[in-house]
């Protein structure tokens, strides 16, 4: 069975989707990612979809699911690199991906994840005092 590789970068997980997704593959990715978040205590998940030319309602739902599940597991999700044509299509389809954080590219996405974690840890320190 095909699998999408999940890379670990410190406490963040990085997924670059390089193939066209079919439903089974997307579901496997969802399950694998959540398992990994749990296993390494990840604080952030970065999903790069710059090579994805089609996001339909099913894949959109999986992206939303990954974001909500990670949030429950104390990790933030950022989706980066969405092609403009995909963004236009998603809105017309009726799937605005509410609750999913996005950034233009991997670099900005990483910066966003780091910024979110710094705010979070400084809040923790203030609470401790």
């Amino acid at each position: 069975m095909d699998k999408i590789p999940i890379l670990r970068m410190g406490r963040f997980l990085l997924v670059t989707i390089q193939v066209d997704l079919y439903d089974g593959l997307a579901l496997t990715l969802e399950a694998d990612l959540i398992k990994m978040v749990d296993k390494i205590g990840a604080k952030g998940v970065l999903i790069d979809i710059s090579a994805v030319s089609i996001v339909d309602s099913f894949m959109g739902r999986i992206i939303g699911n990954i974001a909500s599940m990670s949030r429950i597991m104390d990790a933030q999700t950022v989706v980066v690199g969405m092609q403009p044509a995909v963004a236009i299509t998603l809105i017309e389809l009726g799937l605005p991906l509410k609750g999913v954080r996005t950034a233009l590219d991997v670099e900005k996405g990483m910066a966003l994840l780091q910024a979110m974690n710094i705010t979070e840890s400084s809040e923790e320190t203030t609470n401790d005092q």
Binding site: D20, Y22, D23, G60, A85, I88
Partner: protein, 137 residues
Amino acid sequence: MILVLSKDEMAIIKEQDVVPFRNRVKEYAVKIRMGLVNQTKLITAASELVRNMLKYAKGGKILIEVVSQDRNTGIRLTFSDKGPGIKDIPLAMKDGYSTAKSLGLGLPGAKRLSNEFSIISEWGKGTTVIIVKWSNG
């Protein structure tokens, strides 16, 4: 009047057939110089409809046609299945309605993404959905 310039047929019986089907639609769309946004809308609509066919009817057949009308060229896709059919089409066309716990965006979303959309369904016999996307539509 719509003229048919070329015809191609594909059978879809399993989930893995979806990616080659999407690629085939893309090839035709590129061939008639459809813009990237319209290509993406067409393939996304096709993806929704092919999923419905697999989910509710265990697959079916898709006719891919290059059509022209006046000075416009486009792609017409005809999805036919021998599944259970749709009991209440107006209800199935509503956003958020689904009998399969999904988002219920498939049919209404596919309609919004296409230029022409028609659906014929007979309870117990099957469903046919036809969409047209014009290259400049």
